[in-house]
Structure formats: C-alpha cells, structure tokens
C-alpha cells in the first residue's frame, strides 16, 4: 500500500456517522474513498456545498457544480448549497466536526504551518486558517518527512496557520496526538518501529502508554510505558 493510501485509510477510521467533514486537497481528498460501509458522512466543499459527490460522468458535468479547486463534481441526494459566509459560518461556528488538511510543518505542541513558504510559495491561506481555527477536530495528513527532513519539528520555521493546536497528525509512519500540548506517539504503522518514528521526528515525542493497543488493525504496538524521548518540554 502506498503512503498516501495508508494515511487516508487510517484517517477514515476517525469518521463517525452524521459527521460534517471538510477535506483539503491532496492526501485528504482520498479519505472520502474509505468511508466505512453504511456510514453517512456529510462532506463539505468550502465553495458552498454539503453533499459533494464523485466526479461527474463524461458529458454530465455542470460548470456551476464544482469542488473548491473548481473541478466539476456531483451532488448527492440531500445536498445543500449556500454562500461563502454561510460556508465559513459552518466552519468557524463549530458545526464542522472534522477537517483533514495537508501540512508542511507541525510543531511539538501541535501547531500547524501549511499555507506558505516565504519567498517561494505564497498561494494564500484560502480557507486553511478558518478551518484550523474553527473545526471541532483537525487532522493533518502528511508524509512524515520531506527530503529526509522531519516535518514534525521543535518550532515551525514556516508561518503558522493558526495558534490552535491540531488534534492528530497521521503520516505513513505513525499517528501522533497532542494531549496536554505535547506531541505524543499514539500508534506506529505496520512494520514501523518506535525508534524509526523518533529518528524521523524533531523535538520531544512522548510515547503513549496506550501504544500497545493501536486502533489500526495493521499497526504494530512497540512500547508499553509512557516514555519521553528528547529534551523535556
């Protein structure tokens, strides 16, 4: 299984019936492919749609029914549309149960940077700042490292998306949460050792005592006791 699929599948296990969910572009979009059977999840597209369906069949696309990237999609029965103020009212007002976003960096307290690389890439924050500030739960889907360098870092060198910590980071190596504001290894992916995760992670990483009971069937438990790796916070 490739890294992206692995990450998306694991995140899909966080879905619950009736949730309103917003998926960012890239790996997050793939999460929609792994909704458990029989579960009804509302997917919001921040350009003003709840009930986003798959891409339209050839010849059936409507130019006025698109995803946030402007690509034609379909709408499921029970869909609803609204203006941009309402769309972000849903996001900012605590109605959005979960957002899944890509990440450039996450600091050891869970703060995300994912919207710009000064001097290089300035696409604009789009809806990212609202999503992180407003969603009930924020999950970051990203590769654990980029060009061999950790993306979970002591301190973000890139501009933050929000000062509100994310809830979970899911990579091809591990699932990391931020209880009490401290990066905590909750699960390792199948065949990955704690040491490998620690080596690929910058800053402090607490090892959860519950690591022995991973929620992902294929994930491997590696440590039994709460252990702090690296310098204390």
């Amino acid at each position: 299984m490739d890294a992206q699929t692995l990450i998306a599948q694991r995140i899909a296990q966080e879905l619950r019936d009736g949730m309103l969910v917003n998926l960012g572009i890239g790996i997050p979009t793939l999460v929609a492919n792994f909704v458990p059977k029989g579960m009804h999840v509302f997917f919001q597209s921040e350009n003003g749609l709840i009930g986003t369906g798959p891409v339209a069949d050839p010849g059936m696309a409507l130019p006025w029914l698109t995803d946030a990237g402007g690509k034609p999609v379909t709408a499921l029965p029970g869909a609803s549309t609204f203006d941009s103020a309402m769309s972000f009212g849903l996001i900012r007002g605590g109605h959005l149960d979960l957002t899944v976003l890509g990440g450039l960096q996450v600091d050891q307290h869970g703060r995300l940077a994912n919207w710009m690389v000064p001097g290089k890439m300035v696409p604009g924050m789009g809806g990212a700042m609202d999503l992180v500030a407003g969603a009930k739960r924020v999950i970051v889907a990203m590769q654990h490292t980029a060009k061999g360098r950790p993306k979970i870092v002591r301190e973000c060198s890139l501009p933050l998306t929000s000062d509100r910590p994310v809830d979970l980071v899911v990579t091809e190596l591990a699932v990391i949460g931020f209880p009490h504001g401290r990066a905590t290894l909750l699960e390792t992916m199948d065949g990955v050792t704690v040491e490998e995760v620690v080596a690929a992670t910058e800053g402090d990483l607490v090892i959860s005592p519950e690591l022995s009971e991973p929620t992902l069937p294929k994930a491997t438990s590696k440590a039994a006791a709460m252990t702090s790796i690296g310098e204390p916070l």
């Binding site: 597209s45 921040e46 350009n47 003003g48 749609l49 409507l62 130019p63 006025w64 029914l65 698109t66 946030a68 990237g69 402007g70 709408a75 549309t81 609204f82 203006d83 941009s84 103020a85 769309s87 972000f88 009212g89 996001i91 900012r92 890439m121 300035v122 696409p123 604009g124 924050m125 789009g126 809806g127 990212a128 700042m129 609202d130 500030a133 407003g134 501009p159 933050l160 998306t161 929000s162 000062d163 509100r164």
Partner: protein, 215 residues
C-alpha cells in the same frame, strides 16, 4: 434597476475603480463582463474577490491583461501569473483568510463596522490588527469592505432585479451584491416578474442597480 448593454456596463466603470467580482476559481464569475473590461482595457483596477482563478479564466483574464493594481483575495495559488506580477512588484496582493474575507464583505453590505474573528490570531495575518477580547477570548477586529462596483453573476434574474444563484456559483455573489455602490448583474436567464418564488430570491431586487441585457 435598469437594464444596460454589456458594452455600456463596462464603460460605466472608470479606470482606477474598486471592483468586487463574484466567483470561486472562476465559477460564478460574470465572464462576459470580464471579457468586456479586457476589451475596453480598463486599467489600474482594485479587485476584491475570493481568488484570481487561473490564466484564461475569470479574474485571471484581468491579471493576464495587466489591468489590476491591487487584489484583495484569499488565494492566488492556481494562477502563476498573479505570483509573477506580485514578485515583480507590479501587483499588490493582500491575502485575507477566506472566511474573514466573506464576513468583511458581508459587514460592508450589512452596515456593520467590522467583525470579530478568532481566525488568524497568533499568525502573521494578525499583524497590525487590533485584538479585542470578548468573554476572555481574543478576536481580531477585521474591518468591513466595500467597493465602487460589484460584478455579480446570477443564474436567474427577473425584470425587477430579483436574483437566484445556482449550486456552487453562488459563493461570494450575494454578499457582494450588498456591498458596493453600484451593483451590475449578468444573469444566465432573465425571466418575467413572478417567475421566481419569493422564498427562492437570494438577492432582493432593490439592491440591484443594473441588469445586463442579452446581446
């Protein structure tokens, strides 16, 4: 509400004007009006919009034609030309979080001085902005936005100017229709009065100034 030709609608807009332009990645942008602005070479414009679309699409055409002095948008990532002009110093780009942008435009149209949002607190988006505490939580004070003209795309308009939007082409259009001195509408379909049910009117007629007549 008056009807106006496409040509006269664009002619009415002076160089240097501030425009709100509906649309999200070009979806729900009044494309013929954009084309006519390019044809008439209206320059030095400021555009308030969600994004700068992509080259050849919606606001992207204004970018490529170098008609813009400044954009106030949430996203420019899919238009390399915007980035190029920005880096060259030819275009001022003010980036605003999308939800904040929507509310600032709404505030301008709804007579509110501004809004208090937690979005952007603790980030560079907060730089230079007033922070206001309400019930112990910090919010940024984001001031209202207004424009000289709103260029609005509607799916349906009646002879009075009542408007309806379709699916994801709604986006910023109804907000902008409230927030400009002069509101110009390009509608896909123009219908007699009474055809749109009162409950389905999304922008009431009295706020619309001009409806572009079919060519």
């Amino acid at each position: 509400m008056k009807t106006i030709s496409l040509q006269d609608a664009a002619a009415m807009i002076p160089a240097g004007a501030t425009l709100m332009v509906g649309g999200f990645m070009g979806v729900g942008t009044p494309e013929p009006l954009v084309d006519e602005l390019v044809r008439q070479q209206k320059g030095d414009l400021t555009v308030i919009a969600n994004d700068t679309a992509a080259p050849g699409i919606g606001i992207g055409k204004l970018i490529t034609a170098k008609l813009l002095r400044r954009v106030i948008v949430s996203h420019i990532g899919l238009n390399p030309e915007t980035q190029k002009q920005m880096l060259a110093g030819d275009l001022q780009v003010d980036l605003v979080p999308q939800g904040t942008l929507a509310e600032r435009i709404r505030a301008g149209g709804f007579g509110l001085g501004g809004i208090l949002t937690a979005t952007g607190v603790g980030t560079i988006a907060a730089e230079g902005k007033q922070t206001v505490a309400v019930d112990g939580r910090d919010y940024l004070l984001e001031p209202a936005l207004r424009a000289d003209f709103a260029l609005v795309h509607a799916f349906i308009a009646d002879y009075l100017g009542n408007l309806g939007y379709v699916l994801t082409a709604r986006n910023f259009n109804p907000l902008m229709a409230m927030a400009a001195e002069t509101v110009v509408v390009q509608a896909e379909n123009i219908v007699p009065v009474g055809v749109i049910a009162p409950d389905h009117v999304m922008t009431p007629a009295p706020v619309v100034d001009y409806l572009i007549a079919k060519g």
